[in-house]
């Protein structure tokens, strides 16, 4: 159809081809504009419904769909690293976590469970914000966003941004993927910080988490009921595949989108799958192996960073020629050190053990 349009434009050969090309470009721009517009509107509408919706379960499902669209949005922004992370965390962890939390809220008999939100007694005044206060807060927030946007639009683009600097120095980093180069070479101090944050989050969750029974398998693993027939074959296919994909993402991180965070999230999602189906069971205390994996990433990363002070002249600097090997080693250990706390956070337990059948 488009070709036909282009063919119609042929009257004089050269001018005809030029107009044809221009039409193609215009239609492409229009289509991208439509796609991005629909995506933005969909995301805004979904976000509003997730927050403002009255039915909790509907909000959970809408949030899962929000994660899907968010990954597409990252894809459209040409940020496949973030799209990968969003896909792994959104599809593998958040959805299951929210559904498990929901299960915890409603209790096992469909009535309000022990963890249901507290409802105020009948006579009490409604716990809502007065309308004028809400409007005032909304107006202030709107002004703030508009002000920041106005300033941002007026800014001159700087000559030398950190991103350009990183791209220019890419050859020295030892890897070809600029995102990995920034995360594990140029700004590796930030990455250590992020892994520490994850570890601290796990510790904090251990302090408040008490119940272990709600993240386990549902009714169908009780003695009276059998597991659905297809779950076994599913896991037989998915589990080796997930391990393979973890290794692929880890390896890919050196030269194309991927890396330790995405690989760790996939591995954690596999643990979630096994935990949901009762293949893994919770345990209160982590074993020595689990403890060493939990801290392994930070310890190894810091040790190599400190060794750099002696061998390469600066903290967190790699010795020349060793960049790629050291980055790959750190990433491999980080993958495990990211996957385990994520899995344990989902499980709500200190450790995991294999279910003996």
């Amino acid at each position: 159809m488009i070709r036909a349009l282009a063919d119609d434009a042929v009257s004089g050969a050269a001018t005809g081809a030029a107009t044809g090309a221009a039409t193609d470009l215009e239609i492409a721009a229009l289509l991208w504009w439509a796609f991005d517009g629909l995506l933005a509107l969909g995301l805004l509408g979904l976000a509003y419904q997730v927050v403002a919706g009255r039915q909790l379960f509907r909000s959970v499902v809408l949030f899962i769909i929000y994660g899907l669209l968010m990954a597409v949005a990252w894809a459209r922004l040409a940020a496949p690293d973030l799209a990968l992370a969003e896909a792994a965390i959104g599809a593998g962890l958040t959805g299951a976590l929210l559904l498990s939390a929901y299960r915890n809220l409603i209790g096992t008999d469909g009535e309000e469970g022990p963890h249901a939100p507290i409802t105020p007694p009948a006579g009490a005044p409604p716990m809502t914000v007065p309308r004028w206060a809400a409007l005032f807060a909304a107006a202030l927030a709107g002004l703030l966003v508009a002000g920041i946007g106005w300033v941002a639009v007026g800014l001159q683009p700087p000559e030398q941004t950190a991103g350009r600097l990183a791209l220019e120095q890419l050859a020295e980093s030892g890897v070809e993927n600029p995102v990995t180069a920034v995360l594990l070479n140029f700004r590796s101090i930030d990455t250590i910080g992020e892994v520490v944050v994850l570890f601290v989050a796990f510790l904090a969750a251990r302090v408040v988490a008490q119940e272990l029974d709600h993240a386990g398998p549902g009714d169908w693993l009780r003695a009276s009921q059998r597991e659905p027939l297809l779950v076994g074959p599913l896991i037989a296919f998915i589990a080796p595949m997930a391990v393979l994909v973890t290794g692929y993402l880890l390896w890919a991180g050196g030269h194309q989108p991927g890396g330790a965070f995405q690989a760790g999230a996939v591995l954690a999602a596999l643990a979630v799958l096994l935990r949901l189906t009762g293949r893994l069971r919770p345990r209160l205390e982590p074993t020595l192996l689990e403890r060493s994996v939990l801290v392994g990433g930070v310890v190894l990363f810091s040790a190599i960073g400190l060794a750099g002070a002696g061998l390469a002249g600066a903290v967190l600097e790699y010795p020349p020629g060793w960049d790629y090997r050291l980055i790959l080693l750190i990433e491999t250990v980080l993958t495990l050190s990211i996957a385990l706390p994520l899995a344990l956070l989902f499980s709500g337990s200190g450790g995991l053990r294999q279910e003996v059948r």
Binding site: R3, A6, L234
Partner: protein, 104 residues
């Protein structure tokens, strides 16, 4: 003007067919009147749809690895959709809601 060769033509046909199946799935999701009918409509429609689009894109892929990866994506989607449909149908059957809620 470049000409459209046979492979492109087949590819375009498959892609359009895939889009048609997705449309069918969405219409089924919105119009059918109970949970099992909707499940029937979309789990079949969207996987044939994805299959057609995957085939159409495989014909255009730049390398054998890309073809293999698209094929793997489709195979995994088949597996996930089969199991998910089974689980949801089972849940719905136990709940009894799928049948009882059918309007007269």
């Amino acid at each position: 003007m470049e000409t459209i060769d046979l492979i492109d033509l087949v590819s375009i046909g498959l892609l359009l067919l895939g889009a048609l199946f997705f449309l069918t799935g969405t219409v089924g999701l919105l119009r059918f009147n109970n949970c099992f009918a909707r499940l029937h409509a979309l789990t079949k429609a969207d996987n044939v749809g994805l299959g057609c689009i995957a085939l159409g894109l495989m014909l255009q892929a730049e390398s054998g690895w890309a073809v293999a990866k698209i094929a793997l994506i489709w195979a995994l989607a088949q597996l996930a959709a089969t199991v998910s449909a089974h689980l949801i149908a089972r849940f719905s059957l136990r709940l009894g809601g799928g049948v009882r809620r059918m309007p007269p």
